[in-house]
Symmetry: C2
Subunit: 421 residues, 2 copies
């Protein structure tokens, strides 16, 4: 047990601010979409910093970046397990500076500070920090791509073959920035992720720290409507096969499903819509929707999905078009490891803070990790609950508190062993 | 009056077929979007053919291509007026091979054949053939761009400054293909356009030829919804400002206006929708709709517009977004010159065909021309009424009949003078 409160690593806020300049959009936000030039720049800066702090930098075949900090060779005659801490540095096209990057920079700095604190003390685990590839799913779907590969939930070949909207594969995009690696990395025995909340429960409650107890499930569906191009002028209304009309019927219908449910139980969305040929005076023959159904309750998800599946043929009939489900991805709801959640609460108490128990609705890399090892997400407030926006904001003192908390949790895991989690 | 029926110019179908290979999409259609590389290739082929047939090729500042065929110096001591025939060779991105190109190739070939027939006979007008820039409005709005400039309805500078979806201006695009000219071209004293019907009235009636008596009006509106980006997962439904949702409400609502009107009296559409940032897990903060309201009745247009203006704030309120009309363009309905319509009917009778009187709902270059001189559109059938589709089709015998008819109409106008029209 740590005898005194652990502090935020010195210079942490300055380092975070400097990192926010990489891919800056000039309005407080960043555009570091996975394997973009700006993302490559941020990756190189991260690798330099890891190296400077004594981490062994490893890049795996899907571009996950690991910083290994071996603390001891063996413990009680055994190979030491690895405690992981990290998050991601890719962003949305109009993303914020904290979503992901906060957790990575905090892990890197807190890990190095921990190594200093530990000098001479026995340890039960080694430490690895990590920045996962393609968490956002903005360019390559599915989201939480790199962590899913490392968790063994998705073959690396499948991830590398995923293509962006321009037909560029992840493999090609990583090659273009020089981050398709060949290194092997150890598997985690525990995983801790520090993240901004991306919701407003902490802000509303006035609490400064939160522990994610459960994650919402997400059912993501790519749907294509197939009509026929025709002139928007003369073509009789009754003869049109309008793929965009069908898409609009589904967008409004899917929204109504969420509006009809009790608040906070079901979230639905269409974030991306591809229309072809997308010419002002041509009836569109193709419309591809990227839809989401999210809930913490599997029955609510299944019910919403069944209703959506009823909406789609109805919309297709109205618009006289065909339809096809192009891709589906289901992430069931679940709970993070109780032991790690307790440990996080204990270490918050050591900082004189009582954390709020939260659900995470957004995906985090901790979700695929939680399938293979104890995992937890530590959260700090998001002003107005905003993420995926240049207006993301967390009070600097809370950013520092979160980094200190992460350091304290990692110290317990490294000194007492991840089986504690 | 011609003593015997005029024939289709020899080799016409082969020339049309060869022209269809320029910008071919491999499925029977073409992609010759204005000032694209394929459009430039088609323009060069057209200029070569005009030159070969003895036309003087002129390119004006907005890229309109004229082929001047002076038939005599003067008539009765006066400068001779110019009879124009033409259409356009730009296409939709997934366009058909006949829409536009048919009328241009027919004018060029029929004009040259007419010159041969006229040798030694007195004429009352000179002949010009023309391929207008940017009729389709697929890349640069408004549509019928080049003919509107030549008719004096739109300043050339305004047209040249119009930008495509990538921010490229018409001036830049024409420079890139070498078709921003400096030539002056005469003004028309009469304008005849041969075109496929782009509707199915001829096919349904079993007639082979049609005369466009009236044109429908069109009210085109570009509407922007402005919301706020946010994560599609955690953001509470009630707090989202979803620009795409507002767009979907308008798309379905605008369609319902047309569905509620008697068939064939009101056409509405949204052909293009731009969504930003268009990432699967980000609530869209921008959605720009390209909407159309069309009718032959000004009151129906005005009523539909008023209802649409009522829909928009309602949709904005549902989605918690702002809205702004970005651009509006109104083309009132109207009628083509009665004298030219009669002349066209007489010449059809000389070919033993009774043409059907039609409305044109699609814009044609003849509409801006009709504001400044007598104008008419001669039509041949479109199978299934399809235009703006690779499936455009007209029976070869009907294509030949139309070209012969155009030649006969031009002969009357050139020998008797455009005041006949």
């Amino acid at each position: 047990m740590p005898s005194s409160a652990i502090l935020c690593p010195p210079g942490f806020l300055d380092r975070l601010e400097a990192f926010s300049q990489l891919g800056s959009t000039g309005d407080g936000g960043v555009d570091r979409v996975e394997a973009s030039m700006a993302n490559g720049e941020a990756r190189r800066a991260l690798a330099r910093r890891m190296d400077e702090l004594g981490y062994q930098v490893r890049i795996d075949p899907v571009g996950n970046m690991f910083g290994l900090m071996p603390l001891a060779e063996q413990f009680a005659g055994q190979e030491l397990p690895w405690v992981f801490a990290g998050s991601h540095i890719d962003s949305q096209p109009k993303g914020g500076r904290l979503d992901g990057a906060y957790g990575v920079i905090a892990a890197v700095e807190a890990g190095a500070a921990l190594k200093e604190r530990l000098r001479g003390r026995p340890v039960a685990a080694n430490l690895a920090v990590v920045a996962w590839t393609g968490e956002e799913g903005a360019r390559f779907q599915p989201s939480v791509l790199g962590s899913s590969v490392h968790a063994g939930l998705l073959p690396a070949e499948t991830a590398l073959a995923r293509k962006d909207g321009n037909g560029v594969s992840l493999a090609q995009a990583l090659d273009a920035i020089g981050f398709r690696g060949t290194d092997h990395a150890p598997k985690p025995a525990a995983y801790v992720e520090l993240h901004v909340e991306c919701a407003d429960a902490l802000e509303k409650s006035g609490r400064r720290l939160g522990v994610f107890d459960r994650w919402w499930g997400a059912h993501k569906i790519e749907l294509m409507f197939i009509g026929a191009t025709a002139h928007t002028g003369p073509t009789p209304m009754a003869e049109r096969k309008d793929a965009l009309l069908a898409a609009a019927e589904v967008i409004t219908g899917l929204r109504r499903l969420a509006d009809a449910a009790p608040p906070g139980t079901l979230h639905t969305s269409v974030g991306r819509l591809e229309v072809l040929p997308n010419s002002p005076n041509v009836v569109p023959d193709r419309a591809k929707l990227f839809m989401e159904i999210r809930s913490v309750d599997p029955d609510v998800m299944a019910d919403a999905h069944a209703r959506l599946m009823g909406l789609i043929p109805h919309a297709a009939a109205i618009a006289r078009v065909a339809h096809r489900i192009v891709r589906e991805e289901i992430r069931p709801p679940g709970a993070f490891a109780p032991s790690l959640r307790s440990l996080a609460r204990e270490q918050a108490a050591a900082l004189d803070v009582e954390p709020l128990g939260l659900d995470t609705i957004a995906a985090h890399d901790a979700v695929p990790m939680a399938i293979v090892c104890p995992a937890v997400v530590l959260a700090v407030p998001s002003r107005d609950g905003l993420c995926h926006s240049p207006r993301e904001w967390t009070e600097p003192a809370d950013l520092e508190l979160g980094a200190a908390w992460l350091g304290a949790v990692l110290e317990r895991l490294v000194t007492e062993g991840p089986q504690h989690g």
